[in-house]
């Protein structure tokens, strides 16, 4: 009998950068996953200084059937900036989990996102014959690519990408209006912890979808 929890089939591990600029892509990504009925799992969902980060990542990967890896920070943007290796590393761990574990883990599915179509082939040539989707660092394209990927791996009766993008924009308006009314300031919104934001998104989707 499998000891895989039921939540495994609904969890989507997100492996992405956490810089300020990426938040404009992460938020619509989180929203889309929730809108499609899945649960985003991300390293920033919990914070425990006593837990080694790699252990947290391993738990998230192992407990998620789906994963989305954004490699768009594989190239440094300015002189002396160090490019990030965490994302390719975690992609490797995820693929290893699928290959070396048994049972439900063999059915894991992953989506690789990049800002540009072919850049990753140079940085990560072992994956050069894998399909990826590009988002051009545009939030609307993130929504479109993620939604389309879920359809391509079998999700049915899904609203079209434009509709989901419009719903995300409506969410941001409601979110802004309600949090302002509750006394949140601009900085509170910009630095809102991921679990709090995800909770607001989940409530909105439940009420408005």
């Amino acid at each position: 009998m499998s000891n895989i929890p039921k939540s495994f089939h609904n969890n989507v591990f997100i492996n992405c950068p956490f810089d300020k600029k990426y938040m404009s892509l992460l938020n619509p990504l989180l929203f889309t996953i929730l809108y499609l009925g899945f649960k985003p799992r991300i390293a920033s969902e919990s914070f425990d200084s006593g837990e080694a980060r790699i252990n947290k990542i391993l738990k998230l990967i192992s407990s998620s059937k789906y994963s989305i890896h954004d490699l768009s920070r594989i190239k440094s943007l300015k002189k002396n900036e160090i490019y990030r290796l965490n994302m390719p590393f975690e992609l490797g761990v995820d693929i290893g989990c699928r290959l070396f574990k048994k049972g439900a883990h063999k059915k894991k599915k992953c989506l690789i996102l990049e800002a540009k179509q072919y850049r990753y082939q140079k940085a990560l040539s072992d994956m050069s014959n894998s399909d990826i989707k590009k988002h051009d660092n545009a939030a609307e394209k993130v929504v479109r690519q993620v939604r389309n990927w879920f359809v391509e791996i079998g999700l049915r009766r899904v609203e079209n990408p434009t509709k989901i993008w419009e719903r995300y924009n409506e969410f941001t308006a409601d979110f802004y209006e309600k949090r302002k009314a509750e006394g949140y300031r601009k900085r509170d919104l910009q630095t809102m912890p991921t679990p709090e934001l995800v909770n607001f998104m989940r409530e909105w989707v439940k009420k408005n979808k």
Binding site: S24, N27, A173
Partner: protein, 73 residues
């Protein structure tokens, strides 16, 4: 005074100016599709103002979906 949203009831439906890969769309909340898509954002904002009725909220979004400007006609 707190603004009322269409979904919380009472207020008139907001009009959104939303980024599209092909330009900027005017979308009324609850409508099945965008009223019109403009190439330029400025034109879309002007179009939204023209089609809004008195007291209606116009929400102008940034390219990433966040709020740039919120005004009432």
């Amino acid at each position: 005074m707190a603004r009322r949203t269409s979904r919380s009831g009472g207020g008139s439906k907001r009009i959104h100016v939303i980024s599209r890969s092909s330009g900027w769309a005017i979308k009324r909340e609850g409508a099945s599709k965008a009223a019109k898509v403009y190439t330029k954002k400025d034109s879309a904002i002007k179009g939204a103002k023209r089609s809004a009725s008195k007291g209606q909220n116009i929400v102008v979004h940034k390219k990433d979906g966040s709020i740039q400007k919120w005004e009432e006609k």
